[in-house]
Symmetry: C2
Subunit: 119 residues, 2 copies
Amino acid sequence: MQDFIHDKRVYYSPIEFAMAYIGGTWKIPVIRALANGPLRYGDLKNAIPHITDKMLNTQLRDLEKKRMLTRTTFREKPPRVEYTLTERAIQSMPAIEALEAYGRKLMDWEVEGIVEKGD
Amino acid sequence: MQDFIHDKRVYYSPIEFAMAYIGGTWKIPVIRALANGPLRYGDLKNAIPHITDKMLNTQLRDLEKKRMLTRTTFREKPPRVEYTLTERAIQSMPAIEALEAYGRKLMDWEVEGIVEKGD
DNA sequence: CGGTATCCCAGATGATACTG
DNA sequence: CAGTATCATCTGGGATACCG
């Protein structure tokens, strides 16, 4: 395919472009945590093991900029902030599930020590 | 899920583990280039735009170590070396295709400037 | 509660040149 | 043909501390 330019960056394939949206260590965990409905910052942090404030913040800002989620502030006492997935993010689910299925297969192979034809 | 330890590294999910096998800029391009059958180093380099010798080598060694492909040397004149995908790599195709489909969707959305509900 | 601000490092990637 | 070697750079992520 031809190169695709977006936001001053060059992508050599649709896959590379998709990776900009769901790649990295934390984007998929964040998307999955929000899959069943909006969550607040604190809930999100509790739902994602090992994530630090810095990484959660960085990822939330980046995902918002990429229009993968929206940030809604409710003027309550105390103020409440909710994060909600957009259609863009919801559409990534099939790819995420395919990745997970493949990851499970790889893990099973490692654990069972299976050696296939060609190894 | 519980943490998964492999080769002295900790993985928090099957997805993270899958990414170790097909993540990064060059692993998927290499796997796809070999999808229709074995290729030699030079053919591989020609088939993958923009890749440098260093990155092609690094990825071939890494993929070989992860048993995603095999390296076969034919004692001919001049010597010939062929790279062939293993079953592990072939099984990654569904995930790769799902990623590509999602990437194309994202590209279309960017180009068409479509704004979905929630944006 | 819901974040920001710094500083820092390792590993991934790139540029360039060289070799059996 | 099929690689290695070196050096430079860029960026994700961690540690730590602070703020309205």
